[in-house]
């Protein structure tokens, strides 16, 4: 382990003391923040040369960001346990037999969740809840099942204190899925995040409309293009955290992101950006990710010792990692300006072409780069359109059109983003607030989903424009909770603070209503 300066030690001690004294952080938030502060003192990774001046610099120059994963990753960032195995076999570490009925199934899942680590210290994946629970709901009537599900979901929302926690349903309609949608629409909780894997012809319209109605009241579920995900990741994929497509029984070691706008600032034009600046930064980020992955697999001991791996709920061979990016819009606009060309990202055919050529180049780089321990995805990372951080300023999520610059017509918006979704198997997505008149015509939303998935769109989210619970970037927050936090009150979910930042810095409440 490399030495660090006494000055840095003292700065960290000061930071820890501030965390302890914070009037706003809850106890759990303080403990998590202090652990991150302690971890920041370690220097064990084999860092590529040049990383420091791309990553540890002020925000307006930062080209690579590791999303505060820490200096010595003690576990993969996203862990996707095979909960079906748990239902089948129970868990010897937790001393739980297979559940015998719905009461036990829900109770055992809640126990299990408390032992699934991640970058947030909360489980980012809660399982394919419809198929997990379908055998058990057969034994009870609707009213009993809903009462139990309400209790289960209430427990989830009040103990998983972070909305980067995701459950899946679909594509096949089930009774458990229907009951879950009805209860979610009624509860309007921030946690968990929820996705309907949708495939036209497999997911029937009645079930899909129930999902739309829930989404308009509770900002969930989102809709994932099942056909597309299966083609890329196989049947055993899940949607976790924000909207991340990942292998079941595995997960993602790490996620780092290119800040494309800041890379564009380094270039003197399109040619320099594509030939020099982008390849230089991509290469350093890929090697930094390689170092993180190697530490987790070769040194952390996680895969040898954690019960999830030891009992086969996860398999090291089913892990990959996510090669992320943000700010394509700003990147394209900066490059157009440097070239003296008119046009803005989202409004101009040339801007769309330039944007797609940049994403293609990143995709080609990733397919060339040999990533360690990523057998499940052919020895390469998966591209990820990252949703941003709360303190991002002038950085649009992934490949999204900036809020405030959306095309007047939704059709033009969809046709632009249709160029980009296909490149991101580990996640991308766009969000649309919908006018209140939609409650009388939820088929409007379903038609848009169907059309989008016949084209090449991957993942769409909707909420009614006046909904209290809204999708910030990839996670859910209640406006009323943001207001509490603004007034200096404690709030239960740590994502509320992120939401407040995104509302201020990312203008999330100003999205164009469709």
């Amino acid at each position: 382990m490399r030495d660090i300066s006494m000055q840095r030690v003292n700065e960290t001690r000061e930071n820890i003391l501030n965390i302890i004294k914070s009037p706003v952080l809850t106890h759990e938030q303080k403990v998590a923040s202090m652990a991150n502060a302690a971890d920041s003192l370690l220097e064990v990774l084999d860092l590529p040369e040049g990383l420091d001046e791309l990553m540890n610099v002020p925000l307006d120059r930062k080209c690579i960001c590791d999303l505060n994963e820490g200096h010595a990753p003690l576990r993969p960032r996203y862990i996707i346990p095979d909960y079906a195995k748990f239902m089948r076999d129970g868990c010897s570490f937790l001393q739980l037999p297979p559940p015998a009925d719905l009461y036990e199934a829900l109770n055992y899942l809640l126990i299990f969740y408390k032992h699934v680590p991640s970058v947030t210290n909360f489980p980012v994946y809660l399982g394919q809840l419809d198929t997990l629970l379908e055998p058990f709901v057969q034994e009870v009537d609707d009213a009993t099942a809903k009462k139990l599900l309400r209790g289960f979901l209430l427990h989830v929302e009040r103990t998983i204190l972070d909305s980067f926690s995701h459950a899946d349903i679909g594509p096949v309609p089930t009774r458990a899925g229907r009951l879950l949608l009805e209860v979610e629409a009624e509860l309007q909780h921030e946690v968990p995040n929820l996705t309907l894997k949708y495939e036209e012809g497999v997911t029937d319209d009645d079930f899909a409309i129930l999902a739309v109605k829930a989404a308009l009241r509770a900002a969930k579920p989102s809709f994932a293009n099942h056909r597309m995900f299966v083609q890329e990741l196989g049947e055993d994929y899940v949607i976790a955290s924000c909207y991340n497509g990942l292998p079941l029984g595995g997960g993602s070691y790490t996620l780092c992101r290119l800040i494309l706008g800041n890379i564009a600032k380094r270039a003197d034009g399109i040619e320099d950006f594509k030939s020099n600046q982008l390849p230089y930064v991509m290469d350093i980020m890929a090697r930094y990710m390689d170092a993180r992955v190697r530490f987790e697999v070769e040194q952390s001991g996680f895969f040898e010792n954690n019960f999830l791996a030891r009992e086969g709920f996860i398999h090291r061979e089913r892990f990959t990692a996510m090669f992320g990016l943000v700010g394509l819009a700003e990147c394209v606009n900066i490059l157009l300006e440097k070239e003296g060309r008119p046009g803005r990202f989202g409004h101009d055919e040339y801007a769309t072409e330039l944007g797609e050529s940049i994403i293609k180049q990143i995709n080609e780089f990733n397919e060339q780069h040999q990533s360690p321990y990523c057998e499940v995805t052919g020895g390469h990372y998966l591209l990820h359109a990252q949703v941003g951080l709360s303190d991002d300023q002038n950085i649009s999520p992934g490949t999204r059109i900036p809020i405030g610059e959306e095309p007047d017509e939704m059709i033009d918006h969809l046709l632009v983003i249709n160029h980009f979704h296909k490149y991101f198997p580990s996640g991308t997505g766009d969000i649309f607030p919908i006018d209140v008149t939609v409650h009388q015509n939820p088929e409007y939303v379903l038609d848009i989903v169907k059309g989008s998935f016949r084209k090449e769109l991957r993942y769409l989210s909707f909420y009614e424009k006046n909904s209290d619970v809204i999708r910030i970037t990839g996670y859910l927050v209640k406006r009323s909770e943001i207001e509490k936090l603004r007034k200096g009150q404690n709030v239960i979910h740590d994502t509320t603070a992120l939401g407040m930042g995104a509302v201020t810095n990312g203008r999330v409440l100003e999205r164009k209503v469709r």
Binding site: I411, I448, G451
Partner: protein, 280 residues
Amino acid sequence: MVATVNKIIPFSIVDGPGNRTAIFLQGCNLNCLYCHNPETRAKCIHCGACVSSCPTGALSLENKLLYYDPAKCAGCDTCIRVCPHDSSPKTADMTADEVWQAVQKQIPFIRGITVSGGECTLYPEFLTELFTMAQAHGLSTLIDSNGTLDFEHCPDLLAVTDGVMLDIKAFDCEEHKRVTGWDNRIVLKNARFLASEGKLYEVRTVISPGLFDAERTIMQTAVLLRPYLSIRPIRYKLISYRPMGVRMQYADTLQTPTGGQMDYYAGLLADGGFKDIIIT
């Protein structure tokens, strides 16, 4: 065939089931007091009254013809407010083929198209041509109409029309004249005929207390249509009068109903056998 188009809304939530492209044609033969888009009533007569009021210079008069430049338009609608003829300088004469080109862009995101107005049945051949193309591409076709065109005499149009959304503005003929300036014999004939053909998708009545006897209109319409509900369910949309967009001289004299009144009327329809009732 050519029609004068007021506007095309690529994705519309409120013009029929699902996501539809809505096409609004210019010109109307009725003069409803509560009309909320009176700028669709008449065709532009190129008088030029709007030209000087345009803040962005999008309008000009050349050789006695009005020109509109969409690229310069800021969408403030000042021209519509100052038009003395219930028209708009922003309309365009388009062939059915040109309108179809504009619709095609939305495929596969839409399930159908709805043509409204104005009164779109002033252009029956245009509708037939447009709907034939739409249906050939799997899109459903709806007409939003005041019911003054006798559909029984338009078999070609009806053959390519999936449904009609019909206004019954008042059941009593004299009341209908007071609200719209026209009698309603053809409207009611259409209601029966379309319902019997399974082509009546929706009936709408705008409620403004004091303007006409809404209870009587709703009760009588329910009695008229009840025998046909087994052929195809008919949606009844009860629309609260709102002053937004209504011409100043009428807006002040018309009343907005209470929520309780609307619920009462919806109850009458439910008792009359209607299952799909919407209040807006």
